[in-house]
Symmetry: C2
Subunit: 466 residues, 2 copies
Amino acid sequence: MTAVSDLDATFLDELATAVGSERLHVGAAQREAYAWDNTGRRFLPQAVVLPETQEQVAGVLRACHRAQVPVVPRGAGTGCVGGGLAVQGGVILSTQRLNRILMVAPEDRLVVVEPGVVNADLQAFLLPHGLFWPPDPSSARSCTIGGNLAMCAAGPNAVRYGVTRNWVLGLEVVLADGSLMRTGGYTTKGVVGYDLTQLLIGSEGTLAVVVKAILKLAPRPEARRLMRASFRTMAAAAQAVAGVMSRGDPPAALEFLDPAALELLRGQEVGVGHPQAQALLLLEVVGSSEDVDGKAREMMARIEPFDPLETLLAANEQEAKRVWAARYALSPTLTKIAPRRINEDVVVPVSRLANLVDGLAVISLETGVTIVSFGHAGNGNIHVNLLTNPADPELERRAKQALDRVFRLVLDLNGTLSGEHGVGIMKRDYIHWELDPSSLKMHQKIKNLLDPVGILNPGKVFVVND
Amino acid sequence: MTAVSDLDATFLDELATAVGSERLHVGAAQREAYAWDNTGRRFLPQAVVLPETQEQVAGVLRACHRAQVPVVPRGAGTGCVGGGLAVQGGVILSTQRLNRILMVAPEDRLVVVEPGVVNADLQAFLLPHGLFWPPDPSSARSCTIGGNLAMCAAGPNAVRYGVTRNWVLGLEVVLADGSLMRTGGYTTKGVVGYDLTQLLIGSEGTLAVVVKAILKLAPRPEARRLMRASFRTMAAAAQAVAGVMSRGDPPAALEFLDPAALELLRGQEVGVGHPQAQALLLLEVVGSSEDVDGKAREMMARIEPFDPLETLLAANEQEAKRVWAARYALSPTLTKIAPRRINEDVVVPVSRLANLVDGLAVISLETGVTIVSFGHAGNGNIHVNLLTNPADPELERRAKQALDRVFRLVLDLNGTLSGEHGVGIMKRDYIHWELDPSSLKMHQKIKNLLDPVGILNPGKVFVVND
């Protein structure tokens, strides 16, 4: 580890001038705190800046642009693909202190925030207005809005509300050369010019740094009801998902757990339904206090034709919490039992879920790699977890083989390699499996257009020049 | 009028080879049919092609690219801003014969279509599946999906469902040089790479030609209820709109008519509410047959605090049709009474509607130009109609002055110059009023990147090189 930053002194002076020396960190310990994210991989940045204003962000970008030093925008470091890691060194630009909620307008169903606002803090702020911002990654208690926008992150709500990009009206961003650009605006309709807002959302910090976001809000449902349904086979559960999604109002959440996931949880104090269940669905409906029970009954009626072993309608908030507990116990459990897990978030069309499930079983059997799957079934977005061990090179080799086969399978089923985690460094070498050469070429051209010097989060998403 | 096309013979041969001579028209009468759109302005193209396959579209683009001849993608010619007009001559590329519905997958809530499918035909096709595609421009009976995507067109549904761009999962497009590019895909979540789908939607045919679209579908509501509310003043109606939008489920439509609009309709056989009404709101709620009446009552309760002169809940489908008739009679009436009307579709945040309404009254008074306003109040998207007469140069001058003042007002209120019509040639000279210089520069760079020769719908949206 470098004890102090090895960046050029003139450049460090420029950074200090831009951001104020108290917001520039070059000490080893401080840099270490920004060297990690949810991937468990470590890349030590050469400096960390914590700007508090747009002007300071612009100053940092100008300095990095001039000196051709990489700059990595970073929220709370909860990402799953290394998007916030300084893989080529350079400066981590943390948005944590750009965390003001600037304005809320309930009639306009919008809120204006800085990127460092924590998702859960925003939701708490919106509560008295009867509104919420639908994107709900499982890291909501710590992840930032800026990170949500950069990755186009999502969670269970997506099945009903759509994804992050549907809930952004406009942005203010700093471009690679430090200039400011506004996109979109304060209205729920607007067709003047190209949609640069959407080009930037999900671009993983490779095109610009968001300094302000105008977010569209939804009315917070008055009431919710959680249901659980156990099935004899994964195939039956997958068919039930397709059945639920083929008609009527979508549920507010439609999650599933596979046999391996249920097996893992059986020893724990969480409800996993019928003892013979090989698959579990969790369904939530939302509505007004008057109509939510009718909606729950209607949803139950959609499931009945698929012959569940057992169904349960949570009687109250507490019971619902207990039922959700099974779903939320999975990630920590997996982290505990496997020395390493490859946690993917592939997506297939809902009608192909049964094929995916069948295919995963074959891959697990043939490679001898344990695969545990669960996730957002209503979007066909499955967290496929391959359990492996860095101390066992032979298993690691087979896990890599299994992963490649999972990705091929997903693409054969008209799916995508990532529904909500993004590409970052973890799927960069697979992106050409999914994008056609013409699209990849266009990505490279757009990247070069917006970031000609190549300082913005280099090494991520795709290879810029090949 | 040129009797036969004056295009170079070699180029015409290439076009004929690309598309088949029976799908290439150079006769004056045939070209005349493609010289007009809803703006009433006439630009005679030099040739018209009607490709039936992706390959034919690619061939046309390749020929135009080589010969540097403008090519104007065009749907049904229902646009309001000249987007489908050959303002610099060249070739009209009509998508009318690319009109197949290729696949529907109800479990995946998606349909795959070619761009020439008529919006209403798609809706009719989806009816038995209990699904629909939410974008509903008033031209739905004749406009095409390709046109809807090019302009990011919308209608009353937008207040509940969001706009066209929220209902597209992926595209296949032909780029300026004739190469094919796929964007997005078949899943409702997906974060692999930049969102090129959204960059293309609303780009008005200036970046690529859509040849296939994967559209996201919504469940068709079982039941709907229409309500009407009359108000003593426009200000009261505007406040009621803000009140309705500030909480709870959005209505499925929230339209308004101003005093001048009501005055125009009073002589006609359409219901316009209370005789002293100075403003009218139409509100629709949707739901299941069980819960829709409860929703209508809840919506009525949201309006009551704003002291309406009269409210009406349509008892049945027929009565609802009669109430809607007032809204739909307006455009034809205006076309009849005014030799020319400037029909704008500005948007302001809902909370600023009252300010917009007040400002329009002042502008009308001070310029002596009659202004009739109605439209999608729930989105703050107002059709501002300035009535003028080409035979009266003095009035025309004042109308232009009034228009400029309307645009300034809208932007001062944090609004946008177009909510659903687009820019085309009609607002091109105003676009720099709305976009900041940095954004406009980015538009120019992106245009040059995707269309370096400048053949795709030239002269539209913004000036490419200045």
